[in-house]
Symmetry: C2
Subunit: 301 residues, 2 copies
Amino acid sequence: MSNTNTALNRNDNQIDLYPSRIHDKPTITSRKDPVVYPDAGFTGPLSKEQLDFFERNGYLFLDSFFSEEETAGLKEELNKVWQESADRRVPEVIREPGGDEVRSVFAVHRDNEIFRELSRNSRIVGAVQQILGSEAYIHQSRINFKPGFTGKEFYWHSDFETWHVEDGMPRMRALSCSVALEDNYAYNGALMVVPGSHKHYISCVGRTPDENYKSSLRKQIYGVPDNDSLKWLVEQGGIEMPTGKAGSILLFDCNIMHGSNSNITPYPRSNVFMVYNSVENKLVAPYSGQKPRPDYIATRD
Amino acid sequence: MSNTNTALNRNDNQIDLYPSRIHDKPTITSRKDPVVYPDAGFTGPLSKEQLDFFERNGYLFLDSFFSEEETAGLKEELNKVWQESADRRVPEVIREPGGDEVRSVFAVHRDNEIFRELSRNSRIVGAVQQILGSEAYIHQSRINFKPGFTGKEFYWHSDFETWHVEDGMPRMRALSCSVALEDNYAYNGALMVVPGSHKHYISCVGRTPDENYKSSLRKQIYGVPDNDSLKWLVEQGGIEMPTGKAGSILLFDCNIMHGSNSNITPYPRSNVFMVYNSVENKLVAPYSGQKPRPDYIATRD
């Protein structure tokens, strides 16, 4: 199969460093971008040890990052958004597969004053700049609600694979910050990461259908890594499941393999996700050659 | 709604101490049977502390109960059963909901020499007799296969509720022994229990359809506890998820509330379950008034 579609529709000479959903067989290739930019001169709250840990493992968990008071304020706002979203039939509100319960609300950094402030929190932004070695902007934000009893799994994926193919994010120079707004236990669907997997790129199989995001946000079918590649990654790095109190944050690289199991416990599990992308890494045309996803999923200016 | 059906089809004067699937609203009542019979004179491998723990919490986890060598032998046999079952279209082989992968194989204590021996293991039988205060027989045995990547959840349930309603087990005087044949982690769908829940009986809503077992073993719809009762139980006792190496065993009371989340990790999770029922507690006609389930699910002599 030829690579002719990789350079279509773009106004620069960039080649596709991370092709996916093009070939018939999955491949594993090496990451072609740094993970951390320690020499870019940004100072912030992270120690050298923490930056090294992030470089090596692709994630960093900071327990009790927010005070109880700050966390309580965020949680109150989250409950408000949850209640308001129940009857809001807008694209930003995604529902559970096979159900009507709210699964995610997108663009909360744009539509909600409290979460806009959160996205500009100086300590978070400081940590982000230390890692990305540049200023950054919000590529995507969302609240994920994982209700008790019925919360469904999120299957394994690399965020970057989707952002690259469907949004046109050229390089791996972005990260997510997940703010836990409930206590996370090992048994209520906590996020699992594969340490070290961010240094490998799994090219997935299957072409992306038009307007894939309309179903993929409920249940992802394209951009799903194959079992053999997953097994290989886990053999290298194992699985970690960072858990902690409400108010903790998890920073994780755009290309780390992650997912979560279902949640049948009565304990809900809600998080705010904010994706920071380097200003040096702005979106180009999607590498799938298709129409970009809407702005509430992938910010374009 | 009257209780007239509870005494139908039985040749004794027993009344139904644990009615379920009869009323329109769920109820929580107290257990009417002892959990442990310390004065029955049986000796065995369990200490007084361990028996007290079981009485209080409804379960007991014994790490590395079997040696590595013993465990390897059992695992080899399990793999054999798994392979043989793939194409065996018999009632004993249950497949995943919405799939063809083998989920459980029943009656392995009856059909397989190695697992028959396991069910008669003197240390297990010793522990069982210490708890139940009598001799015991195998009410049910099965292997549960929870394959990597796709293993689905088992929703919360009390085994006793089903055994009582559908099999006619009169009293709470039975327990399960689950032998782990893979390492159990917090993230590969380990069994979760609600400590102390075995002292309460949740009466469920909804009448049992005929031959319910034909679908309930894939996905349980009747005999499912309501959210409010589950929340109440978890508020009292929390959730524990005993994990350990292959070769560990978990003993748990017939009425403890338990379940497990899905397993998207590459690590499979397989266990042998053996249910021991006191010889003083033999089955009568099902309390649903319906035809008993077949012998491979519930032993009758």
